[in-house]
C-alpha cells in the first residue's frame, strides 16, 4: 500500500499528464464520430458570437468575389427562366410541388487547411437548420450540417475524411463516392467508379440522386486526372468548381420529403 502511495507521489505529474492526454484523446475520438462531437465544437453562443463578430471585419476582403458570384448566378438563373417562360404561358406555383427549401446562411469560420475541416455558419435551429442538411453555394457542394445550436451550426466540409458524398458522371449514370485525401483543397477524389463507365479527362461530375441531402445534378467539379487498369479506375482526381478557400454566403437545403423517404428506408 505504501509502495503505491510512493509510486503515485513520485510520478504524480506524469500520471496527471497521462490523464489529461486520455481526456484529450477522448474528445478527439468523439469528434471523429459523426454527430457525436457535442462538447468541443464552435456551434455555441460564445464561440459562435465571437466568430460572427470578427467575420464582419474580414468580410470586405471577399465582397468583390461574392458580388461577382451572385451576379453570375443571377445571369444563369435568368437564362433558365427565359427558357421556361418561352415554352409556358402559365407558371404553376404550388407549394406542394416544392421539394427543397433553401435557407441562406453565412460562413463565419472557414477551414480548409486541416485534415478534417469543419465550418461554422450563422444559422441554427431558430432559423430551421437541423442536423444532416446539405449545404451548397452557387458553384457547388460545400458540406453537411453536423451540429446545431439555436443560432449557429457546424458544417462537415467536403474537405473532411468523414464526409462521403454520392456523386455521378453527368454524361451517364455511373456513380461513385466523393472523398478527400487531405492534400490539396482544390481537388477531391472519386472512388468506386465502374470500369465500364468510360470516363475521360474533363468530364463533369455532379451530385447523384442517391443522397437525400442534396438534390440531383448539382455541379461538383471536373475530372483532372485518373489511372485506368484492366479491372477498375484508380486515383480519379476531381478539381472542384467551388473555391473552398473563399466562401461567403451559402444555402442550407431543407429536403421536405426527407422524413417520408427515411420512413420508407426504415421499413425495408
Amino acid at each position: 500500500m505504501q509502495q503505491i502511495a510512493y509510486f503515485i507521489e513520485k510520478y504524480k505529474y506524469f500520471l496527471l499528464f497521462v490523464l489529461l492526454e486520455i481526456i484529450a484523446f477522448g474528445f478527439i475520438i468523439q469528434s471523429h464520430s459523426y454527430h457525436k462531437s457535442q462538447f468541443i465544437n464552435s456551434a455555441n453562443a460564445i464561440t459562435g458570437g465571437f466568430l460572427n463578430k470578427t467575420v464582419s471585419f474580414f468580410e470586405y476582403t471577399t465582397l468583390k468575389e461574392e458580388n461577382l458570384r451572385l451576379s453570375e448566378e443571377n445571369a444563369f438563373l435568368r437564362t433558365k427562366l427565359g427558357l421556361q417562360t418561352a415554352a409556358l404561358d402559365t407558371v404553376h406555383l404550388d407549394t406542394n410541388l416544392v421539394k427543397n427549401q433553401y435557407i441562406s446562411a453565412k460562413i463565419i469560420a472557414n477551414n480548409y487547411t486541416h485534415r478534417n475541416n469543419i465550418l461554422t455558419i450563422n444559422k441554427g435551429t431558430n432559423d430551421g437548420v437541423h442536423i444532416d442538411m446539405g449545404v451548397i453555394n452557387s458553384t457547388g457542394i460545400i458540406g453537411i450540417v453536423n451540429q446545431v445550436s439555436h443560432n449557429y451550426a457546424t458544417v462537415l466540409s467536403i474537405l473532411n475524411n468523414n464526409t462521403k458524398i454520392n456523386a455521378r458522371l453527368q454524361k451517364n449514370n455511373y456513380f461513385g463516392t466523393l472523398t478527400w485525401d487531405g492534400k490539396d483543397y482544390k481537388t477531391v477524389q472519386l472512388l468506386d467508379i465502374q470500369r465500364q463507365a468510360n470516363i475521360a479527362i474533363g468530364d463533369t461530375i455532379v451530385s447523384g440522386g442517391k443522397s437525400i441531402l442534396f438534390p440531383e445534378n448539382l455541379p461538383i467539379g471536373i475530372i483532372k486526372s485518373f489511372e485506368a487498369s484492366n479491372k477498375n479506375y484508380s486515383n480519379i482526381e476531381i478539381s472542384l468548381f467551388t473555391d473552398m478557400s473563399n466562401l461567403g454566403y451559402v444555402h442550407v437545403i431543407d429536403n421536405l420529403d426527407k422524413e417520408e423517404i427515411l420512413e420508407l428506408h426504415e421499413n425495408d
Binding site: 504524480k12 505529474y13 506524469f14 496527471l16 499528464f17 489529461l20 492526454e21 481526456i23 484529450a24 484523446f25 477522448g26 474528445f27 478527439i28 475520438i29 468523439q30 469528434s31 471523429h32 462531437s37 468541443i40 465544437n41 464552435s42 455555441n44 464561440t47 465571437f50 466568430l51 470578427t54 474580414f58 469560420a109 472557414n110 477551414n111 480548409y112 487547411t113 486541416h114 485534415r115 478534417n116 469543419i118 465550418l119 461554422t120 457546424t154 487531405g182 492534400k183 483543397y185 478557400s245
Partner: protein, 172 residues
C-alpha cells in the same frame, strides 16, 4: 488572486483571441496557420505548481479546439509540450546554476531561447499534425507541415517575446 495569476489569465484570453480570430484565418500559401498561442506555454512562470500548469495548458488547448472545431488535438499537443518544458529547461540551461524564481524567458540570451522555443515548437507541431492526420501514409505531409508551420510559429513567438520584454527600452 495574485498579480501573477491575473497576468496569466489576461494572457490566456488575449492569446486565445489572437490565435482563433486572427492567426487561424491567415492561411499563408494556402495551408499555413501559425500557432503562436504557444507563447502562452513559453511565458508561463516556471516556478509555479506544475500540476496547475498542466491543467491550465490543457484548458487553453481545449479552448483553441473549441474555436477551431478540431476535437482535442490542440489540447493533447499543448499538454505534451507543457509537460516537456521543465525537463528541457533543465537540459538547455544548466540546472545547477538556474534560479527558477528568477527565470524569465525574455531575459535570457537569444541563442538558448531560440533553441528552447524551436525544440518545443517542433515537438508540438509534430504531435499536432500526427494526431490530426493519424496515418503513417501521410507521414511526408505531417513532416512538411510540421517544419513549414514551425518556422513561422517560431518567428512569431520570438517576435512576441521581444515585444513583451521588460528591459532597456522601457527603463527611461
Amino acid at each position: 488572486m495574485t498579480r501573477e495569476t491575473l497576468i496569466i489569465g489576461f494572457r490566456f484570453v488575449l492569446l486565445l483571441l489572437i490565435q482563433t480570430l486572427i492567426l487561424n484565418r491567415i492561411h499563408l500559401f494556402g495551408f499555413l496557420n501559425p500557432n503562436a498561442y504557444l507563447l502562452f506555454i513559453f511565458l508561463y512562470p516556471v516556478e509555479t505548481k506544475r500540476a496547475n500548469f498542466l491543467i491550465v495548458s490543457f484548458l487553453f488547448g481545449l479552448c483553441i479546439d473549441l474555436f477551431s472545431n478540431t476535437g482535442g488535438i490542440n489540447a493533447a499537443a499543448t499538454v505534451a509540450t507543457a509537460y516537456l518544458t521543465l525537463p528541457l529547461i533543465k537540459i538547455i540551461w544548466n540546472s545547477q546554476d538556474l534560479d527558477f524564481q528568477l527565470f524569465k524567458l525574455n531575459n535570457e540570451p537569444l541563442p538558448k531561447t531560440l533553441v528552447y522555443i524551436s525544440l518545443l515548437t517542433l515537438v508540438h507541431h509534430f504531435l499536432l499534425f500526427s494526431i490530426e492526420y493519424w496515418s503513417l501514409r501521410e507521414f511526408g505531409t505531417v513532416l512538411y507541415k510540421t517544419f513549414s508551420t514551425s518556422v513561422v510559429t517560431i518567428f512569431l513567438c520570438i517576435l512576441g517575446l521581444y515585444l513583451t520584454k521588460k528591459g532597456a527600452s522601457t527603463h527611461y
